[in-house]
């Protein structure tokens, strides 16, 4: 049930109509039922898995909260980590390790090992596992109290708008909203939700899917068949495909949640306007980057043990962040480049005696920073999207060869100008006003004109072939 399908909107309409006629307790039970139905539509068998994760984390956190004995508390949190990461590892990395094992066996002349087991990846497992883990860790750290209601906790884990692709919520933010009566649907909530849903659909259907059309062609071709300009178009297209896809999903999730009275965390804030890598990670997939910061980077020591260890922690965090996306060397390289780049930026900022957050002061410097950051991000997307390191290197090599304006380049540039131009101008306006809500605060006629434009674009310029949400596979 994709967010850009009629099926989802039929489901969401029914949920909203019933939901707003119920009291708080019944609302929670009904939302839990709806969320399990939503998840069951992907594959009902994995309902048992999410139910197990929910029950295990509920029980573990309860045990942690019950005792003051630090050893016992540590044992339960370790058990929680082992079980959840074990499940995640089994579904997500088993195939990868098997492939690598067979490669090694092959090089020493041994037969391949076929365990006769093929695992399919449950939708959203990385998202809800991280959300569940953060809860237990927060209870262990004393930052949140253990939930006393299993149905409420189950809803916190499975809340359908953000279940399969985030934002990855924290227990101290979402759980109280589950446990306490929520705001009724007001004009403000409806307006904010509508704005997010409309922009989310535009990002997914108009931007991401149309860019996928271009990007898929480049990444499916042999690198030697492409000239440099075509490769560049493919990389740009993928940069906006993944942005539109993921930011679009997040916006719809947050928008639908607003209509249900929930306030989810912001997940994207115009990331391609970032002037440096640190700022990029403050704007891109914010719920994951803050999760990695709080549950990985800081526990590793953060920046407390000197420069060497800080740099190590940065690289390690980003590499593991890369692996979170999937088991492939391309993701490791993607994370590694981001980590190294954060290290270089940190050292560079220290050298210049400036805080890492402040970019070059002038307008030209700021634009140069934005362009440089965008292109470095694009370099990492090349590895992220490629099927293999060899393909990524092949495309990199092709990037430097035979630049000319082929039909594909002309079409690519024209389509990008047509689809991305107005959107980037809109984001530029938000950036200039330093306000993501700038349109929401504009006169209602402006919003109506914007929505009419969005609907007409959705109608007339949806991509020839609809593409699945990328992040559902993570």
């Amino acid at each position: 049930m994709w967010f850009n399908s009629f099926g989802f909107w039929f489901f969401a309409t029914v949920v909203l109509l019933v939901y707003h006629r119920l009291g708080h307790r019944l609302q929670n039970r009904f939302l839990l039922l709806a969320s399990y139905f939503f998840y069951g539509c992907w594959d009902w068998r994995f309902l048992f898995l999410i139910l197990f994760t929910t029950a295990f984390e509920f029980f573990s956190a309860g045990e942690i909260a019950k005792t003051a004995d630090p050893n016992r508390r540590r044992r339960w949190v370790m058990a929680s980590l082992l079980v959840e990461l074990g499940i995640l590892g089994l579904f997500k990395y088993f195939g990868f390790f098997l492939e690598e094992l067979n490669r090694i066996l092959g090089t020493v002349g041994l037969e391949h090992w076929e365990p006769g087991l093929r695992l399919i990846l449950p939708a959203g497992i990385s998202f809800y596992t991280f959300q569940a883990l953060s809860y237990t860790i927060d209870v262990y750290r004393g930052r949140t109290t253990a939930s006393r209601s299993f149905p409420d906790f189950a809803l916190f884990i499975s809340f359908f708008p953000q279940l399969v692709a985030g934002p990855i919520e924290r227990s101290d933010h979402l759980l109280p909203q589950v446990e306490n009566p929520r705001k009724l649907l007001s004009g403000v909530l409806f307006r904010d939700g509508l704005y997010l849903v409309m922009t989310g659909l535009f990002l997914k259907v108009v931007i991401a899917d149309n860019m996928a059309w271009l990007a898929n062609f480049v990444f499916a071709a042999q690198p030697e068949e492409l000239n440099g300009a075509e490769v560049l178009i493919g990389i740009y297209a993928f940069a906006f495909q993944i942005y539109g896809d993921f930011a679009g999903y997040s916006a719809i999730a947050i928008g639908v949640s607003k209509w249900l009275g929930f306030d989810l965390m912001e997940n994207f804030r115009r990331p391609y306007f970032a002037g440096n890598p640190r700022e990029f990670w403050q704007r891109w997939h914010i719920s994951l980057s803050t999760w990695l910061r709080d549950y990985l980077y800081i526990p590793l020591g953060g920046n407390r043990d000197g420069e060497g260890k800080t740099n190590r922690n940065l690289v390690l965090t980003m590499v593991l962040g890369g692996l979170w996306h999937g088991a492939a060397w391309t993701f490791v390289v993607w994370g590694g480049i981001h980590g190294l780049w954060l290290v270089v930026h940190r050292q560079w900022s220290r050298l210049l005696g400036r805080n890492a957050e402040s970019g070059a002061s002038g307008g030209v410097g700021k634009i140069a920073g934005i362009l440089a950051t965008f292109h470095l991000v694009c370099l990492t997307w090349l590895f992220f999207r490629a099927e293999s390191i060899d393909q990524a290197l092949g495309l990199l090599a092709a990037l430097g060869s035979g630049w000319h304006l082929s039909d594909f380049v002309l079409t690519g540039v024209s389509l990008m100008a047509f689809f991305l131009g107005p959107w980037l101008a809109f984001e530029g306006w938000q950036e200039w006003r330093k306000d993501s809500q700038v349109l929401v605060k504009a006169p209602w006629q402006a919003r109506a004109a914007f929505y009419l434009y969005v609907i007409l674009m959705l109608l007339f310029f949806a991509a020839p072939v609809s593409v699945e949400f990328i992040y559902f596979q993570f």
């Binding site: 399908s5 062609f217 039909d407 594909f408 002309l410 079409t411 609907i455």
Partner: protein
């Protein structure tokens, strides 16, 4: 803030969409030749009735662009003349990119089988490899907006369309021309404004064509084909299914052949299982006029021996 302000936003958006809907209804036939052809289907029963009054017979060619290119009007007339029959009314119900779902629905809507409604004297069904099989409906929008009649809605929603999405698209298109034709603006605009767009679009979609070519004889059911044949209230010898030649050889599925045989309808498939020269298909898919003429003569020789 009151809810009223957002209601005003929605009303204004609705008004804007209403204006575009009006424009679409007014000018839809200017969007494509296919739409002009589809709109002209409404005149088919009238033309058949007129021909009947004049003592002439009528031939309805049912299919898509393959049938349009492969079953040609001059050669159909030629055979009628050779058989000393009056010049027939030759009519085409051949919307682009359509298949048996569209043909069955359109035929049933135009010729509901009442005693007072006219029906063609001959029906030639032109098909490619799997256009007669029960497949995923190619375009629920076109089916809803143009081909299906109200009496078939239940059947289509229950059994032909498989997902909520398809059903929603079918129903919305049945009331909105803007929605039904939403995919037509993109090619018109981009083909004309972006240099090289057409060749790039073909290149980018090459994979889809390759997939079609790679498929073998299907094993899908043939209920819609059966429904079409059952809706044609003519003696079996006046109906013929013709397998139109393609740049590759193919056979119709046994299920289809069985369905035709059960109703004693003849199938002309002699030309599709031999490899035609590539030059016979200048655009890589449709028969050139010469090839079409030759094929039509073979078909008509069988229809009117």
């Amino acid at each position: 803030m009151r809810l009223n302000e957002e209601v005003k936003v929605l009303l204004l958006v609705g008004l804007g969409l209403g204006c575009f809907e009006g424009l679409s209804r007014q000018f839809e036939t200017r969007l494509s030749a296919d739409l002009r052809q589809i709109r002209s289907h409404e005149e088919i029963p009238e033309k058949i009735a007129k021909a009947e009054q004049e003592g002439r017979e009528s031939v309805l060619v049912l299919g898509n662009s393959l049938a349009r290119a492969g079953l040609r009007e001059p050669e159909i007339r030629e055979r009628f003349a050779a058989s000393h029959k009056p010049d027939p009314e030759v009519l085409y119900l051949t919307p682009d990119a359509s298949d048996v779902s569209d043909w069955a629905a359109a035929y049933r809507r135009l010729f509901p089988g009442r005693h007072d409604s006219p029906e063609p004297s001959y029906v030639l069904v032109g098909t490619g490899r799997n256009h007669l099989e029960d497949r995923k409906v190619v375009s629920p929008e076109k089916l809803g907006a143009y081909h299906a009649g109200g009496s078939d809605y239940g059947r289509i929603l229950r059994t032909w369309l498989k997902t909520t999405d398809e059903r929603a698209r079918f129903l919305i298109a049945s009331v909105s021309s803007l929605f039904a034709n939403r995919e037509r603006l993109r090619p018109i605009l981009f083909y004309n404004l972006i240099p090289g767009y057409e060749s790039v679009a073909q290149r980018l979609n090459e994979g889809d064509v390759a997939k079609v070519m790679a498929t073998g004889p299907g094993n899908a059911s043939a209920e819609r084909f059966g429904l079409l044949l059952d809706s044609i209230h003519l003696p079996a010898e006046r109906v013929m299914v013709t397998a139109i030649p393609l740049p590759w050889t193919y056979e119709l599925s046994p299920t289809l052949l069985e369905a035709a045989e059960k109703r004693e309808v003849r199938v002309f498939a002699e030309e599709s299982d031999r490899l035609w020269p590539r030059e016979a298909f200048p655009d890589g898919y449709h028969l050139a006029p010469d090839g079409g003429a030759g094929f039509t003569r073979s078909v008509m020789a069988r229809l009117l021996p």
